[in-house]
């Protein structure tokens, strides 16, 4: 009996931990721990966020004597999966904030500046302060930039007032978004949501926030007098077909008004109106003719909106010549092999995280699976072997459908669902256990990933 007493918290915790493991994809193929390989290699990691810090912690374990330098001007580390919870009033802004330096291992050098130039031919990085950092191997873990400037009439100082939210902008902006959403849901009105037409990090987040706002309207008794509009950037709600169908069903169930092919171009904060472009549509008719609907613009009035801007590779990466020349040309993601995450033209360059030009994988859970792959190929290269690890596109999204329930959605490049607990936790079911994972277990698991554990 006393054993049971002791066991009580651990069992609950274990469930939670197992959940976090699912969400962050702990089932990733991990290379066997071998003796550290002696090397004098100069390795530069651009970016000390989740991908960069996690990568550095793994490499110091695997390599002995390597000169590892991280380049990142950002002093704060942001736990980005927490932004939705902050913007839902469940956590304070401080929930997502720690220090970049807190996560870096001993034995690496952190240059607290942004990179100004990447020269993959000369194998040298130049920092904003002019410092030259030559490298043998380069790991790009820069993350992406949010292109707020491309939303005409919008600026971040509007967030939190006049019904404008911007969950993605950072912990304080997420908290300001909560203030605006709280005010809106108390009164009711038109809630307007959507996503950009570029690739984006956590494509489930725009949907989650729509569901959560709907939930608050219902809890406060203002849903009847309100309208929720979701302006999708194309003809789908989610890139994975089976998930898309499920989300469509839920949108129908919740009574959301979905508009298709709406690309946000501007915000008029005074008039509380969002402006959209609807690209030219071509439809093939049964008789073989094509009906062309020319591009047009439209506007939607709102009382509350969550602005999510186009997302692109940072300028320094786009100018480096490492981007795809024929894909995502307006976004600049780097040209890596989807399986090995190694650059296709510069084999001593690798990518981890949001910066990779691969069809899926812009989530923290993906980083969890990408780190061991890059680690394997890089360490093998240094040891004079051939790496074997393959990234399968694993991406995970705890899709919150109301406060207290979520769907644990996990998938790969081929749009297969890849549930971590098949037969136990159904991927397309709205479950309390999936919510517990998102709210409780994800952050400790994420932190373990940053430290190179888990």
């Amino acid at each position: 009996m006393s054993d049971m007493q002791d066991f009580r918290p651990s069992r609950r915790g274990f469930l939670g931990l197992a959940g976090g493991a699912a969400a962050l994809g702990l089932a990733a193929p991990a290379p066997a721990r071998a003796q550290a390989i002696a090397t004098k290699a100069k390795i530069v990691i651009l970016g000390a966020g989740a991908a960069g810090a996690g990568m550095a912690n793994r490499l110091v374990e695997r390599l002995d004597g390597a000169e590892i330098t991280l380049v990142d001007g950002r002093k704060q580390h942001w736990y980005q999966p927490g932004f939705t919870l902050i913007a839902s009033g469940l956590k304070p802004a401080s929930y997502s904030v720690s220090g970049t330096g807190d996560w870096l291992p001993k034995g690496v050098k952190w240059v607290e500046e942004y990179a100004a130039n990447i020269d993959p031919e000369g194998q040298v990085i130049t920092t904003a302060g002019g410092e030259k950092l030559p490298y043998d191997y380069l790991i790009l873990a820069t993350g992406l930039t949010l292109d707020w400037a491309s939303i005409e009439g919008f600026s971040l100082d509007q967030v939190g007032q006049n019904g404008i939210g911007a969950v993605y902008a950072g912990p304080d902006y997420a908290a300001a978004t909560w203030r605006a959403m709280d005010e809106f849901t108390s009164k009711g009105g038109v809630g307007l949501f959507g996503r950009p037409a570029t690739e984006m990090k956590c494509a489930g987040a725009p949907l989650k926030y729509t569901f959560i706002t709907d939930d608050y309207l219902r809890r406060k008794g203002t849903r009847e007098a309100s309208q929720i509009i979701y302006a999708a950037n194309n003809a789908t709600l989610f890139s994975v077909p089976v998930v898309n169908e499920k989300v469509k069903l839920l949108f129908g169930d919740r009574g959301f008004d979905t508009r298709w092919n709406h690309i946000l171009t501007g915000i008029d904060a005074e008039a509380k109106t969002a402006h959209y472009k609807i690209p030219e549509q071509r439809v093939l008719n049964p008789d073989g003719t094509v009906t062309v609907t020319p591009e047009k613009t439209t506007a939607i009035a709102y009382d509350f909106t969550n602005v999510i801007p186009p997302q692109r590779a940072p300028q320094v990466v786009r100018e480096s010549g490492l981007s795809w020349a024929d894909k995502w040309v307006d976004q600049g993601w780097i040209e890596v092999d989807q399986g090995s995450l190694r650059h296709l033209r510069y084999p001593n360059v690798f990518g981890v995280g949001d910066i990779n030009g691969v069809p899926k994988g812009k989530t923290a859970a993906s980083v969890k699976w990408q780190i061991p792959v890059v680690e394997d190929h890089l360490v093998a290269e240094i040891a004079g072997r051939e790496g074997t690890a393959v990234y399968n596109g694993y991406t995970s999204c705890p899709m919150i459908t109301k406060i207290g329930r979520a769907m644990l959605v996990e998938f790969d490049y081929k749009n297969n669902l890849t549930p971590s607990f098949p037969g136990v936790i159904a991927p397309l079911e709205e479950l309390w256990i999936s919510w517990l994972m998102k709210e409780i277990a994800l952050k400790p698991t994420y932190n373990a990933m940053l430290r190179g554990k888990a």
Binding site: M1, R8, L17, E430
Partner: protein, 120 residues
């Protein structure tokens, strides 16, 4: 679960309950467990009467545990969505029931003091 270390587990608990509450709960659980073992060893037997009283408290412990978990996770009964959720809920309730039974038994035994076997 490749690296389910003790350190990671502790981090998860601190995250769930908050650092202060978690360590307070650990301390309480440890004290109750030690006290329970103490009265068992002291009395050299399990009192059926005290055990019956302890069992009467089990539903209260079960309900309290469920409400507590719901409170720390901002959720409620309406969020139960499938069989696995019921299993988790029942598991939490079961642990609450067992926990309070041990607590009530221990408290009774401590209050009653060392009783001769004839008192049964």
């Amino acid at each position: 679960m490749k690296d389910l270390t003790f350190e990671t587990l502790i981090a998860v608990f601190e995250e769930i309950f908050g650092r202060g509450l978690f360590w307070t709960m650990v301390a309480v659980a440890a004290v109750v467990t030690v006290a329970y073992l103490y009265v068992l060893i002291r009395d050299r037997h399990l009192s059926a009467r005290k055990f019956l009283a302890a069992q009467l408290f089990m539903p209260i412990g079960a309900i309290a545990a469920v409400l507590f978990v719901q409170w720390v996770t901002h959720s409620g009964f309406g969020d139960i969505g499938g069989p696995v959720d019921w299993i988790v809920l029942l598991g939490v309730a079961g642990m609450g029931a067992v926990g309070i039974a041990i607590l009530v038994y221990t408290v009774q035994a401590l209050i009653a003091g060392k009783s001769p076997k004839a008192a049964e």
